[in-house]
């Protein structure tokens, strides 16, 4: 299905480490990911799995002197991000790759009007005539469902949902090809979440924007995404289309655990089954599968040897020893 589409983002064997005085943290370990034009990919995983680090690496905004890409390539269209200069990256950020943030309360500058903050992105990327700027700001605000008269208001005069709409307007200002959305609905309540998601879907379809949606909410993934990558301890352990992830039977034990820990509407009331244990310490590099410690299907091999990626058919990939035999058959 994806083969005839144009690849927009290609991450190959990406590893990111954070080096502090006390420890070296292996945040992302050999991550591979492809994103096609117009596709929405959900990046799912628990806190600390390296989702945000991946997005930050794509933006090339890892904390200076601390975060480092130790290996791998990130290619965005024709740009090699790992080798791009700061000036090249600045031209890319906001123009071709944009970002929507988790907390709309803090990602807007409290002393600038929202109109000015939208205009700022446009100005950075080449629109300077006041008339054109103001027209475009009005347009963008209308697009996200905010009356354009409110451009003169300050962020504290908006509700959380409205602020996130402003955040979306800023992200969309230059009609980017790729939007990185870092848990855009986590800080919002459920009804507002639904509105914001609907808006994001609508605008994505309108501009044919590719989106990397970072979340830990499987409901959001089912709602918005075309494909899903499940991330654990800095690795993608399962990848597939939404249908494959939600309906296929063969899954990585961690994915099964994830689905077991959300309430089900159809299966009546029973206790949720959380996954036992915690994520492995990111300062230790594991020789085997990072999930081995918590895995109910663990064998000795899991601890010693990194599992290979198995194609379960139709592009559904699982990285687990359990499926070694199945593939051979």
């Amino acid at each position: 299905m994806n083969e005839n589409k144009e690849k927009l983002l290609e991450i190959r064997d990406l590893s990111v480490t954070y080096i502090t005085d006390d420890a070296t943290l292996y945040a992302v370990n050999g991550l591979n990911l492809d994103l096609f034009r117009g596709e929405t990919l959900g990046l799912v995983g628990e806190t600390g799995a390296g989702k945000t680090t991946t997005a930050t690496a794509v933006m090339k905004l890892l904390p200076e002197r601390v975060g480092k890409i130790t290996s791998g390539d990130i290619k965005f269209d024709d740009v090699d991000i790992t080798k791009a200069s700061e000036a090249e990256m600045r031209a890319l950020r906001g123009r071709r790759i944009s970002m929507i943030f988790q907390d709309p309360m803090t990602c807007l500058n409290p002393v600038l009007t929202v109109g000015d903050q939208i205009a700022e992105v446009l100005e950075t990327h080449g629109i300077h005539e006041k008339e054109a700027l103001s027209k475009r700001v009005d347009e963008l605000l209308n697009l996200v469902g905010i009356p354009s008269e409110r451009k003169k208001d300050y962020p504290h005069q908006f509700s959380g949902g409205m602020k996130q709409r402003v955040g979306i307007a800023i992200a969309l200002a230059c009609e980017p090809e790729l939007i990185l959305a870092d848990e855009p609905t986590t800080a919002l309540d459920v009804t507002i979440q639904a509105q914001v998601l609907a808006l994001m879907k609508e605008l994505r379809d309108k501009f044919n924007t590719a989106m990397l949606l970072i979340t830990h909410d499987l409901g959001v993934v089912a709602e918005v995404c075309d494909s899903v990558a499940i991330m654990y301890a800095g690795e993608i352990i399962e990848y597939g289309s939404v249908e494959q992830i939600f309906y296929n039977d063969d899954h990585h034990p961690y994915t099964k655990g994830l689905f077991g820990s959300i309430p089900s509407m159809s299966e009546g009331q029973r206790r949720l089954r959380p996954i036992d244990g915690l994520m492995p310490d990111p300062s230790i590099q594991m020789p085997g599968c990072p999930f081995a410690d918590r895995c109910p299907n663990r064998s000795d091999r899991c601890v010693e040897e990194k599992p290979a990626v198995h194609d379960m058919g139709g592009g559904h990939m699982v990285k687990c020893h359990l499926f070694d035999k199945k593939e051979a058959e």
Binding site: R90, G94, T106, E120, K130, K152, A171, A173
Partner: protein
């Protein structure tokens, strides 16, 4: 209309809420009234008085008149000069010193502090250690040294005062910049392609401005005091130019017989300093972001 109109509306609305909160504080309003009164009288003095003919009377009978003497509300000094007019003209120097010193320190302090705080590392270390050197010298002593080295006069006085105040601003700005540079809206701005200069001037400094304005009003007060002190010591404005500190200095010789020669300039200094301090207090409350809405 477009963006210009937006700009104006923005200024007005932000100002309006600050002004409203400022007006609630009666003492600060009093300070503002005193300051405005001082400013208006000293700036418009030329419209009402001719310093050379009205103030200076070459007449020995006119000397040491007490306050309340007809024609001389504040009396006259040892040369028969009218104290009232001299106080008004002296206010010019004090106000100029206050505003220029604060402006100078604000400008350079912000520049240095923002650079140090934002870029951190070695730049921060070098700049702030230089500031520490200045901070280690008592500001009065530093001002005396600069004036002694460069000579008196208004220009050098302003420079001396300004330089001794720069480190304070650099420290304040640096600390708030260090907090703000990790704010999410700064990170967001980087994600939308903004460069360092843009982030510093458009996002960080406006957010740090509140505490700086308050500090500036306090600097105005303290620099009026220190210029008066320097003049009192004979290092600042020298007689016959009317200046409150030097009036105090020459008046001290006659204070036993004619105490009004020192009480009046002293009161003038105290009133102006007090008015700046009251305004500073009011602004601190009015600009506090936590009280927004």
């Amino acid at each position: 209309m477009a963006s210009n109109g937006t700009e104006n509306v923005k200024r007005r609305s932000q100002l309006a809420s600050v002004v409203r909160r400022f007006m609630k504080n009666r003492l600060s309003v009093l300070g503002l009234v005193i300051l405005l009164f001082l400013m208006i009288t000293s700036l418009s003095a030329d419209l009402f008085f001719d310093y050379n003919t009205q103030c200076i009377a070459l007449n020995a009978q006119e000397t040491f008149k007490l306050p309340g003497t007809p024609g001389h509300i504040f009396g006259t000094d040892q040369y028969g000069r009218d104290m009232f007019i001299r106080i008004i003209y002296g206010g010019r120097i004090s106000l100029v010193v206050g505003f220029v010193t604060a402006g100078f320190a604000l400008f350079f302090g912000t520049l240095i502090g923002a650079t140090a705080g934002y870029f951190g590392g070695r730049i921060d270390n070098v700049l702030m250690r230089i500031m520490d050197v200045f901070l280690a010298i008592p500001s009065m002593l530093l001002a005396i040294c600069i004036v002694a080295a460069l000579g008196g006069g208004l220009g050098n006085l302003l420079l001396a005062n300004g330089i001794s105040q720069v480190p304070r601003y650099a420290r304040i700005v640096r600390s708030s910049v260090m907090g703000l540079k990790n704010a999410e809206f700064v990170e967001a701005s980087r994600c939308y392609g903004a460069d360092h200069t843009h982030i510093i001037f458009r996002h960080i400094i406006p957010n740090a401005m509140g505490s700086l304005i308050v500090q500036a009003t306090l600097t105005m007060a303290s620099s009026i005091l220190s210029v008066a002190s320097l003049s009192f010591l004979g290092l600042g404005i020298t007689p016959p130019t009317p200046e409150w500190g030097s009036m105090l200095s020459t008046g001290k010789e006659f204070m036993r017989q004619y105490p009004h020669l020192i009480t009046i300039p002293g009161l003038a200094i105290a009133t102006s300093v007090l008015s700046f301090n009251l305004i500073g207090d009011g602004l601190r409350d009015a600009l506090d972001p936590r009280l927004k809405n």
